[in-house]
């Protein structure tokens, strides 16, 4: 069961057509080809290796698979990953956590 605050917030966002990622602090992923991935609103790195990077977000973790992965920049709100990205998966994203 969803919290009443979230319900109100969701209704308000839909009513006012506000961007969800800003209002609810949702992770935003931008993938340029298969070479660069930029993620905003992350919550830190869980695991980092040249083949796999797990990034924590508010809704769960995002797993980037590939080879030769390098964290180009890491800032409190943004992380940029370069390398040959083969897959991006979302692990442990519960139903209650999604905002689809």
């Amino acid at each position: 069961m969803k919290a009443p605050g979230k319900k109100v917030g969701k209704a308000l966002v839909e009513l006012l057509e506000l961007p969800r990622d800003i209002v609810f602090d949702l992770p935003r992923i931008m993938l340029s080809g298969n070479n660069q991935l930029i993620m905003e609103n992350h919550k830190g790195i869980i695991e980092y290796g040249p083949d796999k990077i797990r990034i924590n977000t508010r809704l769960g973790e995002v797993v980037v698979h590939g080879s030769g992965l390098v964290i180009v920049t890491i800032l409190p709100e943004e992380i940029t990953i370069c390398g040959r990205i083969s897959a991006v998966s979302f692990g442990d994203w519960g139903v209650g956590k999604s905002w689809s």
Binding site: G44, I45, Y48, P50, V70, I71, V72, I74, P76
Partner: protein, 428 residues
């Protein structure tokens, strides 16, 4: 690119972090807003990253929390480079000096290249360039290429065009010399008659006309004289108008030039005995072919029969030069006889005789012929009236003081004839 340049200017370090909690280290640095970039994990417990110089101090409290150790692998950037150079001031001074020298020397002209300049003009052009300031070692910024080009063209008569371009330290000077028409050397000369003629037109360009249109001249007679003598009245109009006395008479030797056209008469004579037959060539036929190897005839092949009214001529053709085989082809021309009018033939002969006497620019104006027949002998005489240039240049060697002496003699005789004559004086 901008970030890299900014990082280089401020200076950064490449650090190697070792320990078990590397992810924790990354999270802590991002939380504390310590920017890291180019993070590469080398092994399970080793990663390298780039970090600003200012951020390195803030790492120390974090290292204890995540149990990692940091080691500076390399220092990169302008501050480190400057610090490195501070100990090598001589090197810096040398580099700076070199840079200044290169800048100064690059602004000067070190090479002057002349393009299109003939050898005999090279010295003159270089001298003019030097006068215009374009010398080796001159400052390029102080030179105006257009001005230099204009100046050398204005001061060198033999040049038609010049252009100056600067390519770095090279000054390229393109010049185009004037191509003057070849004027033949013309000495003093008279115009004399080439034949007995009547002058129709006479227009004197230079010299002094000796005859007038309508007059008859004989062969060799001077039509236009190259010696022009000026008497006191003719030489200076002021003398004529004011009566002032001219002290020195003058004789000028010139190259006489004039348009002279004359009328002259020529005679032509032709005679023919009996009936005249003309042979007309109808066609050419190949008669035979002969094949030679060197001088030895190998084979002869007749192609057509030789007829009576046929003239034979041979043409050689070399077909196979390396082997020396020579093919001689004999041609025959079939001829036909045609009876001609004897009067017409005699007329043509007489006319041909006149034509031989005519020059290239002379033309026949009018023809009159007389025919005399004595049995089979036919005589034709033609009288032709012709028109054309009748003057030719005849050079002469001018004699010094010849004209003046002549003038003095004339003057002396006049003085003797009229002893009371007074020199001309201005009126009043």
């Amino acid at each position: 690119m901008v970030l890299k340049l900014w990082s280089y200017l401020l200076g950064y370090v490449i650090i190697m972090v070792t320990g078990p909690g590397l992810e924790k280290f990354l999270n802590l640095t991002s939380q504390r807003r310590i920017p890291l970039w180019n993070i590469k994990r080398l092994r399970e417990d080793v990663l390298i990253a780039s970090l600003r110089v200012g951020g390195f101090r803030h790492l120390r409290p974090l290292l204890g929390k995540c149990g990692c150790r940091v080691k500076i692998k390399r220092k990169v950037g302008l501050p480190f480079f400057c610090a490195h150079l501070r100990r090598r001031w001589a090197l810096c001074a040398g580099a700076l000096l070199c840079l200044v020298a290169a800048c100064l020397l690059a602004g000067q002209i070190w090479f002057i290249q002349l393009v299109g300049c003939p050898g005999h003009l090279e010295k003159t052009v270089r001298r003019q360039l030097a006068a215009a300031g374009l010398v080796i070692g001159a400052r390029r910024s102080q030179l105006d290429p257009n001005q230099i080009a204009e100046r050398i063209v204005a001061r060198t008569e033999a040049l038609a065009w010049a252009g100056v371009e600067f390519h770095g330290t090279l000054a390229k000077v393109r010049v185009v010399p004037k191509t003057m028409p070849k004027v033949p050397k013309r000495g003093p000369c008279h115009l004399t008659a080439t034949r007995d003629a009547e002058i129709i037109h006479l227009i004197v360009y230079s010299g002094q006309g000796q005859v007038a249109p309508g007059e008859m001249v004989k062969k060799g007679q001077i039509i236009v004289s190259g010696q022009v003598s000026y008497g006191p009245d003719e030489a200076n109009p002021l003398v004529r108008d004011t009566g002032r006395e001219l002290v020195e008479p003058k004789v000028e030797n010139t190259h006489a030039s004039a348009f002279v056209e004359g009328r002259f008469w020529l005679e032509g004579y032709g005679e023919v005995q009996g009936q005249q037959i003309e042979k007309i060539q109808l066609q050419r036929k190949i008669l035979a072919r002969e094949y030679y190897l060197g001088c030895v005839r190998l084979w002869q092949r007749s192609v057509a029969k030789r007829e009576l009214t046929m003239r034979v001529e041979g043409i050689e053709r070399v077909l196979y030069k390396p082997l020396g085989i020579r093919v001689v082809t004999r041609w025959g021309i079939v001829e036909q006889e045609k009876k001609l009018d004897p009067e017409k033939v005699a007329y043509q002969l007489a006319q041909e005789q006149i034509r031989q006497q005519l020059g290239p620019k002379e033309k026949i104006q009018y023809l009159k012929h007389i025919v005399l027949r004595e049995g089979e002998l036919v005589r034709v005489k033609i009288l032709a009236e012709c028109k054309g240039p009748v003057a030719v240049e005849k050079p002469f060697q001018p004699k010094a003081e010849e004209g003046e002496e002549k003038f003095e003699q004339e003057r002396g005789s006049e003085d003797r004839a009229d002893p009371g004559a007074q020199p001309l004086r201005p009126p009043g």
